[in-house]
């Protein structure tokens, strides 16, 4: 019978059905970082358990690391204590750690793919909701909490309930200036922040097929913002080319065997889905959020909805967002003044993201009132960007060029908004307080749009800026 990738991966990893009716699922790759794991390792210690499959477990440090001065001990003693705990836990339990200063260090969802650890057909878990990113490779990847981290460390398994699959087809060519980030924000806007609960999202269609792995990762990364714990793209030639030659990828004759197995895990052509939704790519514009959840967004040419524009159930949240953000209902989003511009996060901190932002920034100056920073997703991304001179492009324009980490996306390190600052951000959440200041405000958009906003000092349509830049070149 024709099956979806989700079903094939689920079946291949099923250990047994538990007495509760849940399925015991084997986890093929467990990624570990400093924030959600110290209590889990302590639980193992208390019970005298080892890490069952240390060779399937990899750790790095990303959430709390400073992106300027990484000298030890950190100025933040609690952060120092967390990193020291991870170092001790990895040492005691035999888990490889890509620590600060290691060439493999970076945001966990950036390094898994770039090291070739992330592969099609795997189950992947990590104590972080953006683990859905790895679904771009045709893996079934999802975020878990600390008790489940303990379960995976101890048994390499989780007790799970089956998921439905919604296929999201995106068809046609994106206009210049419209990116993967705009596609996923548009999907979340239409299906809502809880539309995906109970579902895996399978992204398909000609637009997705034409995307690079970086773009597919941006899409899958934000599945959770639409309520879907899992999002994936079927593996294809683009996937296989990306993986080949990476440090942990199978090599030689193994690669051919692996490729055949990966291919066999893709959804069958006539697989049946629980649901299907179609999006028309050419009709999309750059998207900007105006509110307090990632579904509260408009096209850059649009207006901030009034209470009358939204369904009954969303009116209270809409009013709350207007007040918190300081936006007039019905006003244009274009022209909203910003104080900070942030290019980074597991959503948009890869080399292609930095290239797109740099293309907008080149030869320009950040507006005088704007503090702008670029935080590469990993040490490796950072070095590759520097090899192309992108760091110079950003620095000359007035951006700060930082070390790798999660940084301002969630403000767990020294990079935070202060007071009511408004931030144009390539990250994934515009929740109240998300960027480290309880009253700070976040506008989510693509890296190119962040770059354009940094230069203009306000939200602008990157398509106009890019047109001007092209015209200048022609002159």
């Amino acid at each position: 019978m024709a099956q979806t990738l989700l079903r094939k991966v689920w079946d291949a990893h099923t250990v047994r059905v538990l007495p509760t009716g849940q399925t015991q699922v084997f986890i093929g790759l467990h990624l570990v970082h400093e924030v959600t794991t110290p209590q889990a390792f302590d639980a193992l210690r208390q019970r005298g358990w080892p890490v069952r499959f240390p060779a399937r477990t990899f750790a790095t440090v990303d959430h709390i690391v400073p992106t300027t001065d990484v000298a030890r001990p950190f100025a933040d003693l609690m952060a120092e204590q967390m990193l020291a705990a991870l170092e001790r836990n990895c040492r005691d339990f035999g888990v490889p750690l890509y620590d600060l200063g290691h060439e493999h260090q970076g945001i966990v969802h950036v390094i898994g793919p770039e090291l070739g650890l992330t592969q099609p057909g795997m189950t992947i878990a990590c104590g972080d909701s953006h683990t859905s990113t790895h679904g771009a490779f045709g893996a079934v990847a999802f975020g878990i909490g600390t008790s489940q981290v303990r379960d995976v460390l101890a048994s390499q398994c989780l007790a799970m309930d089956p998921l439905k699959v919604r296929r999201i087809r995106v068809e046609g060519q994106l206009a210049p200036g419209v990116y993967a980030k705009d596609v996923i924000l548009a999907i979340i806007q239409r299906l809502g922040v809880k539309g995906g609960v109970g579902h895996a999202y399978e992204y398909a269609g000609s637009t997705i097929d034409a995307m690079s792995m970086d773009e597919r990762m941006t899409i899958c990364n934000m599945s959770i913002e639409g309520g879907a714990r899992v999002g994936y793209v079927n593996p294809d030639v683009t996937t296989f080319r990306y993986i080949e030659g990476r440090p942990f990828a199978p090599a030689g004759a193994d690669f051919a065997r692996a490729r055949a197995w990966w291919q066999s895990m893709a959804s069958d052509a006539n697989a049946v889905y629980d649901d299907e939704v179609v999006f028309d790519a050419p009709s999309l514009e750059p998207v900007v959020t105006w509110g307090l959840n990632p579904a509260q967004s408009v096209f850059v040419s649009g207006r901030i909805p009034t209470v009358a524009d939204v369904p009954d159930g969303e009116r209270a949240a809409t009013t709350e967002a207007h007040e918190f953000m300081g936006f007039e209902p019905g006003a244009r989003i274009e022209g909203a003044r910003i104080d900070v511009a942030f290019v980074g996060s597991c959503t948009n901190s890869r080399l292609s993201d930095l290239r797109e932002a740099a293309a907008i920034v080149r030869g320009q100056r950040v507006a005088r009132h704007v503090r702008a920073l670029v935080v590469p997703g990993s040490h490796r991304v950072s070095r590759a960007a520097e090899a192309e001179g992108l760091d110079e492009v950003f620095r000359e324009a007035g951006f700060e060029w930082r070390g790798a980490g999660c940084s301002m996306c969630l403000g767990m390190n020294p990079d935070k908004l202060s007071g009511r600052e408004m931030c144009a951000s390539s990250s994934n959440r515009n929740f109240k307080g998300r960027m480290g200041s309880p009253t700070g405000r976040t506008l989510l958009m693509s890296p190119a749009m962040v770059a354009a906003a940094a230069i203009a000092g306000e939200v602008v349509d990157v398509r106009k800026v890019a047109r001007d830049a092209r015209a200048e070149v022609t002159r």
């Binding site: 538990l18 909701s129 600390t146």
Partner: protein
């Protein structure tokens, strides 16, 4: 490992109104910089409480000692941080009643023995109103009967069968179950080419 059976939770309730209350609101990320969950409940809804200047339900004396939290739609969305349900539980909550929950929050709550039961939207609103009017009202969450009772109101409370059975059989702490059959785990791993070798 046999854990505690959880069948029925009763006590006073605390209403927390609003849809899409995310885990950054429940527990802002800056309070995750710690190697233990101890004392985390002090920061439950910290920024929301500061905003509300003492009027947040968590700061209202009539809700002190509540055992049941009554929420609305998509409660606990956002980050996978278990710190959010941990803070709620450590504050004294033993069950959450709501119109719907985010999946990761729900799973984390199961893993720590705090059932999140779903009731119709009107029932969640009615219970919140009833508790606001009379905070001493006893609310009963009965997992076996599948109901939430608040004064004269009884609403159907749903919980996926597996989660309900996990609570009522005392198997909600899954680690023991997952370690029951290590041979089968090894056998599953051996069948996966990327584990056993290409």
């Amino acid at each position: 490992m046999s854990a505690l059976r959880i069948e029925r939770i009763s006590g006073r309730a605390i209403p927390v109104r609003g849809h899409d209350i995310d885990t950054d609101r429940i527990l802002p990320a800056r309070f995750l910089v710690s190697v233990s969950f101890e004392g985390i409940e002090a920061h439950l809804f910290e920024d929301e409480r500061a905003d509300a200047r003492g009027t947040h339900p968590v700061d209202q004396p009539q809700y002190a000692g509540a055992r049941i939290l009554v929420a609305n739609r998509n409660f606990g969305c956002g980050s996978s941080r278990e710190h959010a349900p941990q803070a709620i539980q450590r504050w004294g909550i033993q069950a959450v009643v709501g119109e719907s929950f985010s999946e990761i929050f729900f799973g984390n709550s199961v893993a720590i023995g705090m059932p999140c039961v779903t009731v119709p939207a009107e029932a969640a609103a009615a219970i919140q109103a009833a508790v606001e009017a009379a905070p001493e009202t006893e609310v009963v969450v009965d997992l076996v009967a599948g109901t939430v009772t608040c004064g004269t109101l009884t609403a159907p409370a749903t919980l996926p069968t597996a989660a309900r059975d996990a609570f009522t059989s005392g198997h909600w702490d899954a680690t023991g179950l997952l370690l029951d059959d290590v041979a089968q785990v090894e056998a599953t791993a051996a069948r996966l080419p990327y584990v056993s070798g290409w």
